[in-house]
């Protein structure tokens, strides 16, 4: 049974293997437009949000780096604060089916309720199309797009690249800093940082 399963995995890996072009998502450039479906079945287009700040947050509920920000309530707090200030917050799940962090729409809805999550929407991206479009590397990996559609931040959530919940307090949150600066008309002082976390569990 195990052998047969292994054989199946090898064959299916070979079948789906191909090149997923990673597009540039450089701070200062136009953010690539996308269309994605959320956990409730609603379709979201980036261009629909022109005129608003948009945050993209790559997530994987099984990843200890992501868990650091959810078990501490940090991510939910950021989602509440910034959505209440008119920011569109899109959590993205790029884990492929069968990989850590994959969830169906109903599963993700139940999970958001359980953890008291508050993004504008959770986008399901099991094919990794959106992930590769932005070249998301880790969970978490954060992007901010300004009302003109320019990518103004690409990087880590904060300056403590660990899984330790105790590190949330006292960390400099790069997303909040960038949003505070951008929403008050300043340019973002730190437009890129090295994202930290688990690798995004893309389809092989």
């Amino acid at each position: 049974m195990r052998k047969r399963l292994a054989g199946f995995v090898v064959v299916s890996t070979v079948l789906v293997m191909g090149f997923c072009p990673a597009w540039a998502a450089r701070a200062g450039d136009h953010a690539p437009d996308f269309t994605a479906t959320d956990s409730g079945g609603q379709v979201h287009k980036l261009s629909d949000y022109q005129g608003k700040f948009v945050v993209l947050e790559w997530t994987n509920r099984g990843c200890p780096y992501t868990q650091k920000h959810y078990s501490s309530g940090n991510m939910q707090r950021l989602q509440r604060e910034w959505t209440s200030r008119g920011v569109i917050w899109l959590t993205v799940l790029s884990s492929a089916a069968g990989k850590q962090g994959y969830a169906t729409g109903p599963e993700e809805n139940a999970y958001l309720k359980q953890i008291n999550g508050a993004p504008t929407a959770a986008l399901l991206d099991p094919t990794g199309t959106l992930g590769h479009l932005y070249d998301a590397k880790t969970s978490p990996h954060m992007f901010i797009i300004n009302p003109q559609g320019i990518l103004i931040y690409n990087g880590a959530i904060d300056d403590r690249p660990t899984t330790d919940v105790a590190d949330v307090q006292g960390a400099t949150n790069f997303v909040s800093v960038a949003l505070e600066e951008a929403t008050s008309g300043k340019s973002v002082s730190n437009p890129t940082t090295r994202p930290y976390g688990c690798s995004v569990k893309y389809r092989d």
Partner: protein
């Protein structure tokens, strides 16, 4: 409540248990699986459920799945005053699992070590062996699989007491990953070899690891680097022909870890074309990294980058 309904409730309760409870790793090797059978008598079901849980909990708490074993070993067992000796953290990983290099690449983080030393002893920085590239897709990391020895020099005071290595230990924080990542912590104290055989095996391990530590490039080699749109071009003048090389950046966010590296032989050496990272928004003054030519063959380089 009818007996049927109650036993159904028990079965449902059992089926809701997290999988890890019922499928746990024993002694790091054997996987113990527990299968549930339909139970028709409620008392029997409760009893079975209770003892099953107690049993599996006991097993799991005794042998958590860490996927790595860490030991702190000495290179030598005899100390000399004012002499530097080496200790090493030996990470033995389950197949497919890895830990990270000092620059972990796109994901993960390197192990962090807090040394515990007896008075008068001084430790130096970790000597990182040359890593391997991990991952083939758009996320590429640098790290170690199977087994790695992270050596560190320790200087003994004068005169060292006969038993003074006994107080040497380390607190290690690490993350070990395969398809998933598991953070871990370990407190280790310096092991003593149990036999002359083990002592020589350890010495050999240090010897092998020493060969994996990047060295300085030969003084006859010449390096230059140029910043071009989208790429860095690294030119190396060598004494002999080079057939293949991989660059491992020491600084995060300079080059695109997952991009193929364009290698080309030149008349007197080679050129390496390295794609710039999307995260790079400021000019880079120097390229720092390893040139890895093969097993036990790596040079650490720092090359000033000429602007366009």
């Amino acid at each position: 409540m009818s007996q049927w309904v109650r036993s159904l409730a028990v079965t449902r309760m059992l089926s809701r248990l997290p999988l890890s409870r019922l499928n746990c790793n024993l002694a790091g090797r054997k996987v113990v699986k527990f299968y549930m059978f339909p139970v028709h008598r409620m008392r029997l079901a409760l009893l079975a459920a209770g003892s099953l849980l107690a049993f599996t909990n006991q097993l799991c708490s005794q042998a958590p799945e860490s996927h790595v074993k860490i030991e702190l070993i000495p290179e030598n067992t005899t100390l000399q005053a004012h002499k530097t000796f080496r200790v090493g953290l030996l990470f033995r990983l389950d197949p497919g699992w890895h830990i990270y290099w000092r620059n972990p690449g796109d994901a993960g983080e390197p192990p962090r070590v807090q040394w515990e030393l007896p008075p008068g002893f001084v430790s130096g920085p970790i000597l990182w062996p040359q890593p391997v590239r991990l991952g083939t897709g758009s996320v590429v990391d640098y790290g170690y699989e199977n087994q790695v020895l992270l050596m560190a020099p320790v200087e003994a005071p004068a005169p060292p007491a006969a038993s003074s290595t006994q107080g040497i230990g380390a607190d290690v924080k690490y993350i070990v990953c395969r398809e998933m990542c598991i953070p871990g912590k370990a407190h280790v104290t310096l092991s003593s070899p149990s036999s002359a055989q083990q002592s020589s095996a350890w010495r050999q391990l240090f010897e092998q690891t020493r060969a994996q530590i990047p060295r300085s490039a030969p003084t006859t080699w010449q390096f230059s680097a140029k910043s071009d749109p989208g790429y860095f071009n690294l030119f190396v003048r060598t004494a002999s022909k080079v057939n293949a090389v991989t660059f491992f950046p020491l600084e995060a966010g300079q080059i695109d870890n997952s991009a193929p590296q364009g290698f080309a032989s030149t008349a007197n050496g080679f050129r390496l074309k390295l794609k710039k990272s999307d995260l790079l928004v400021k000019p880079v003054a120097t390229l720092k990294g390893l040139l890895v030519f093969g097993p036990d063959h790596a040079f650490e380089i720092v090359v000033p980058v000429a602007p366009r």
